[in-house]
């Protein structure tokens, strides 16, 4: 427990110092809220409208969660197909680099036209596409990059390809999968949030930030930003917890 505390207090201390100096700076320099609101103003707004914050976070969080689920599923299925094709082996890395450059979020207006703009669908789709790539690329890599000697071992035991997949490739890919999820989970919240900037239902964090800013309610806009950060962090922490539980060998020195 003492060990845990030692690990926790430095980031807390830094957060306190950071917020303290921010508050001091705004106060001393008399900075206007439209430039930079003081932390005290942001938190006052946050707590006075906490139920609104929660509702908006729930809306955007649901979009993010749906996109994360479908995108992950899609990525996993395609990765399973891809590892069977030898050519993918050499394609995965350049593919990853190339796809990272596609401005997927800019597809939202197009998807809004293709699907019903008043529904959640276009946003879920955008989130899904964004989640798909890191999951697909990382999991494919995990399925392919098996230590050669482990493959030889499986061959020496006359294992069928499907057995190699089940007993070696899939477990080998699990740490890669969680690496992808740790990137994808907070990203899904950002994608869901930004996709709200292109019209459609106004209940989410993105819409709320935009409308608060448009109404010069900067404290409230920033309060929604805080709610967004908390949502993204929550997604990340859930993934982290699942990883600890499901793949405790991750990050250990390889014994292979």
């Amino acid at each position: 427990m003492a060990h845990r505390l030692r690990a926790i207090w430095p980031p807390i201390l830094i957060a306190v110092i950071f917020l303290g100096s921010w508050q001091l700076l705004v106060f001393v320099q008399n900075i206007q809220p439209y430039l930079l609101p003081a932390p005290s103003l942001i938190f006052t707004n946050f707590f006075s409208d906490v139920s609104l914050m929660w509702a908006a976070a729930f809306y955007t969080g649901t979009t993010a969660f749906l996109g994360l689920m479908f995108g992950t599923l899609f990525g996993l299925v395609l990765a399973l197909f891809a590892q069977r094709l030898a050519i993918v082996n050499n394609l995965v890395t350049p593919l990853a680099a190339g796809l990272a450059a596609v401005p997927i979020i800019a597809l939202t207006p197009i998807l809004n036209n293709m699907f019903n703009i008043t529904s959640r669908t276009p946003r879920v789709l955008v989130t899904m596409i964004i989640v798909f790539f890191p999951v697909f690329v990382n999991v494919t890599r995990g399925l392919i990059q098996v230590i050669p000697v482990q493959l030889e071992l499986m061959r020496s035991m006359n294992a069928k390809p499907s057995t190699v997949l089940r007993l070696l490739r899939i477990p080998n890919a699990i740490p890669f999968f969680f690496t992808a999820l740790k990137i994808a989970a907070p990203l899904s919240v950002i994608a869901a949030l930004v996709s709200e900037y292109f019209g459609g239902p106004q209940e989410g964090l993105g819409s709320r930030i935009a409308s608060a800013a448009a109404n010069t309610a900067y404290g409230r806009a920033w309060a929604y930003v805080v709610a967004s950060i908390i949502t993204g962090l929550l997604f990340y922490l859930v993934v982290l917890a699942v990883e600890r539980w499901a793949a405790p060998w991750t990050g250990q020195s390889r014994s292979a």
Binding site: V149, E152, S156, A159, L167, S255
Partner: protein, 269 residues
């Protein structure tokens, strides 16, 4: 059961045959290993000793020639699990407990859970790791991991054990302990063993015969019989041991008896 554990006749292994970067990894190899015999393959890097082991294991096919294990073609022997194999890397699965790593070959053979467990515990008992059965591989030292790998290679009780520098990554003290352990296991199980190594004392201490190989092209230049009786720690300091070490060293330098061809190539080594 035949008296011959492994029979290799006229094996060639040529990589990139017909291309400018052609490499003859194995040139016309003949080798017979009797049942219960301990054979070491020794030679400098690139002499094809690991390739020869992999041909016997049917992990790679020969370009020409054939290998039989327990009287059947190598491919069939692999399918029937007539050998166990251990590599320089323990190649344990991090996501499995030590016990379940040992169970792996049994699982592939379709053994029931209870039988698997009993057999794995028996083997862990033999390599003196029963207390670590439920540990994860990464919690074990290198020597312990290698003992798990050896237990795994013995799981289906194959008559032949193939070992590719299994102690290569261990420190000298651990290494000598592991050698004694291996000889004890061999005593208990009566396995035939083919053991690839870089270390002359290791080859001499463990083997009934040391097969000396040389590179470019990879071939057998000498086979040295070692008659030291049953090994104890004193064996390592016995005169016969040093003589055998010297004989192997000379053979590796191409000055051994019966290696006239090698003798003319001293300058190359």
């Amino acid at each position: 059961m035949s008296d011959t554990s492994v029979n290799v006749t006229g094996i060639w292994k040529i990589f990139n045959e017909g291309l400018p970067n052609e490499v003859t990894a194995l040139q016309d190899i003949d080798l017979t290993v009797e049942t219960g015999e301990f054979i070491s393959l020794i030679g400098p890097s690139g002499c094809g000793k690991s390739t020869l082991l992999r041909v016997i294991a049917d992990l790679t096919g020969p370009t020409r020639g054939q290998a039989t294990v327990a009287g059947m073609p190598a491919a069939q022997a692999r399918k029937d699990q007539r050998y166990g194999i251990a590599f320089q890397q323990a190649a344990l699965f991090d996501w499995r407990s030590v016990r379940r790593n040992v169970e792996l070959p049994l699982e592939l053979q379709g053994w029931s859970k209870d039988r698997r467990r009993t057999r794995a515990m028996e083997l862990l008992e033999m390599v003196q790791l029963a207390d670590f059965a439920e540990h994860r591989p990464w919690e074990l030292s290198g020597g312990m991991q290698q003992r798990v790998a050896i237990a795994r290679s013995l799981a289906v009780d194959p008559p032949l054990l193939l070992m590719d520098e299994p102690f290569g990554a261990l420190d000298e003290m651990t290494r000598e302990r592991m050698q004694n352990e291996l000889l004890r296991i061999r005593e208990e199980t009566g396995k035939s063993i083919i053991f690839v190594t870089h270390s002359i004392p290791e080859a001499v201490y463990l083997s009934d015969r040391v097969v000396v190989m040389s590179p470019r092209p990879g071939r057998i230049t000498d086979i040295i019989s070692v008659n030291l009786g049953s090994r104890t720690e004193d064996t390592r300091e016995a005169e016969g041991f040093f003589n055998a070490v010297t004989a192997v060293r000379e053979a590796l330098r191409g000055r051994g008896p019966g290696s006239s061809e090698a003798r003319s190539r001293i300058g190359e080594i």
